[in-house]
């Protein structure tokens, strides 16, 4: 239906643009991350949420109020908040005796839950624990995944997809060569996933490519896998569906000729030769001769009579 199909027209241009921005689009906006605090949070977890928000700035929103949320029991309050904020990624941090330093990362499709994975944060080091210069916000990071579980274990495969979704940044076609400054590495071992964040510096080396050096800037988290609720296969397939318009069209019947000129083939449909529209010349009209003769005869009669 869209904005134009609404019964009530939007009163301002700003309102119209706001609604259009939130409506389903061919090329979507960058996914917004919504960070929520659970019933109880501790200092470490709060730092962790703040750091995640700064990693995704400006496409992140950290809500300060502590909410009584149990995502694995009832996800509807989270869905409603996400719809309100127009955020399709969420992170809920809570701390309890049973689940210390708990972080639930998840994503939505069409304002309903798609996947969510619960992780326990251990050995967390915040951004301010690393006393060095950071990377500018909005830099597209290089994503490095290591470890066999990311290939073998189904949950880890989904977690990889989720982490890519979280941290991939803007969809860019052209990037400054010097702009590859941020690297995020996720290493999967038996204990879980080790997330590290580095600043990339390059040095001149002999060949074409430079020598890469990394400097850890934080945050550094060790994430232990706890519960998860993953989307069913058909829901996931529906979410993966891309609109037809984005598919690159194959150009047929055109090839590059040998001397640089483009060669093409045109296939003509069968034409009814009687119905072809040609240039109409008066002199070629059928019956013209007879008409002329009749006109001359008439004239002759008038003159005579």
């Amino acid at each position: 239906m869209g904005v134009k199909g609404r019964i009530e027209k939007t009163k301002t241009r700003k309102g119209k643009k706001h609604l259009e921005s939130r409506a389903p689009k061919l090329i979507e906006n960058e996914k917004k991350l919504m960070l929520l605090k659970g019933h109880k949070t501790n200092a470490v977890l709060q730092e962790c949420l703040k750091d995640l928000a700064s990693l995704k700035r400006p496409h992140s929103i950290l809500l300060n109020r502590k909410r009584d949320l149990l995502p694995f029991e009832d996800i509807t309050p989270v869905e409603q908040l996400a719809a309100k904020m127009d955020a399709s990624l969420f992170a809920i941090g809570s701390h309890s005796k049973k689940r210390p330093q708990n972080l639930v990362l998840g994503r939505m499709f069409d304002h309903h839950l798609l996947d969510m994975i619960e992780l326990g944060v251990q050995n967390a080091r915040a951004l301010h624990d690393f006393k060095n210069a950071k990377v500018a916000a909005g830099t597209k990071p290089c994503l490095l995944f290591a470890g066999e579980p990311f290939k073998d274990n189904d949950t880890y495969v989904r977690l990889k997809s989720l982490l890519i979704d979280f941290f991939r940044g803007e969809q860019a076609t052209a990037v400054r060569r010097a702009g590859f400054e941020h690297a995020l590495s996720f290493t999967a071992s038996q204990e879980g996933v080790h997330m590290r964040s580095y600043r990339v510096t390059t040095q001149r080396a002999g060949g074409q490519t430079p020598r890469v050096e990394l400097e850890e800037i934080g945050p550094s988290l060790d994430l232990v896998l706890r519960r998860h609720r993953l989307a069913s296969d058909d829901l996931f397939r529906r979410a993966l569906k891309q609109p037809k318009e984005l598919k690159t069209k194959k150009v047929k019947n055109i090839s590059d000729g040998k001397l640089g000129a483009q060669m093409g083939r045109i296939h003509m449909e069968k034409q009814d030769l009687r119905k072809i529209n040609t240039r109409k010349l008066k002199g070629l009209k059928t019956g013209r001769d007879a008409a002329l003769a009749a006109a001359e005869r008439k004239q002759a009669e008038e003159v005579a009579g």
């Binding site: 071992s189 020598r211 550094s220 993966l240």
Partner: protein, 342 residues
Amino acid sequence: MDRALAVLSQIEEDAKKVKPTDVEKEVDLEYDIGLLLASDPNPLDHDALHSADRDGYLQRLARDNCQLLFNRLYQLPTQTKDDVTTVNLPAAQLRIPREKPAPKPKPLTKWEEYAKAKGISRNKKGKKIWDTELKRWVPRYGAKKAQADREKNWVMEVPANVDPNTDMFAKAAEKKRERVAKNELQRLRNVKRNMKVPTVGVTPKDVTKSSTSELTEAAALARRSTASLGKFSQRLPRDAPTKERGKRRQFAPAVGDTRGEVRGQLELLQNLGRKEKGAVVDTEKAANRLIHQEQRERAASKEDKPKKGGKKRWIPNTKKGEKQKKAIAKKAGKGRKGAKGR
């Protein structure tokens, strides 16, 4: 000779200073350049992971993988513009789920459909028009246009065929309001066309403005809206018979395909005889049912004797009970006597 040696040793030293850019890996990484993604399938060094220098190992691993990714990135074609070298990233190979479903194509308005059918294309209009009276560029729409119009129309002639006391400005304003209202009505009509809301049976409709199909649909709906789904609703003599709704049962013709009929009957007999798979009749269940039915009949026949005497009611041996007994006897007597026609 010495100079040559000196140059060679200098080159060696320089080579040592520069660190290598190639990395040795057992299995090559999987790259998705569009996402700046590199996945390392090699097994990890678990001893290093569990050692004290875990972070150091992770950093070395990340550096190696990042180096390999950069080697790939620097192979991409570049463009230089204004001292900035950019690299064109290819499309991502890994499919990431969308946040919202693909947009549905906007339904065409009535005019758009007509224009499409006729092949009428839109002419791009400029934002400003040259106004010959005011001798300047005036916007085609908006507040500035209204201002320019007011400048132009500071006086409005009253034509001869109109009452000389009419307010021409008010008339012009009225006309504009009518145009705006008409536009709004047509917009809403287009919205309604594409909204797929049940137009009949939900909201009251103006009977004179409804089409035949809408009226028949409304009548059918009204007829159906009974507890028995319109089975016993009376119909007017000239009403069209209702279409069959719901599940339709197909019955084979009575005369015709004799062979098919024979085949079907034989199949049915076979299925009846079968005990396990495809058994149409569960013989045990049927036998049990028959037995149960016989038992009930026997029990009922036993009960029949007191039944012939009438319904047995338990009445207590009290004064009230005596009264009740008398009342019953009276009723019974009346019935019999009444039957005889006394």
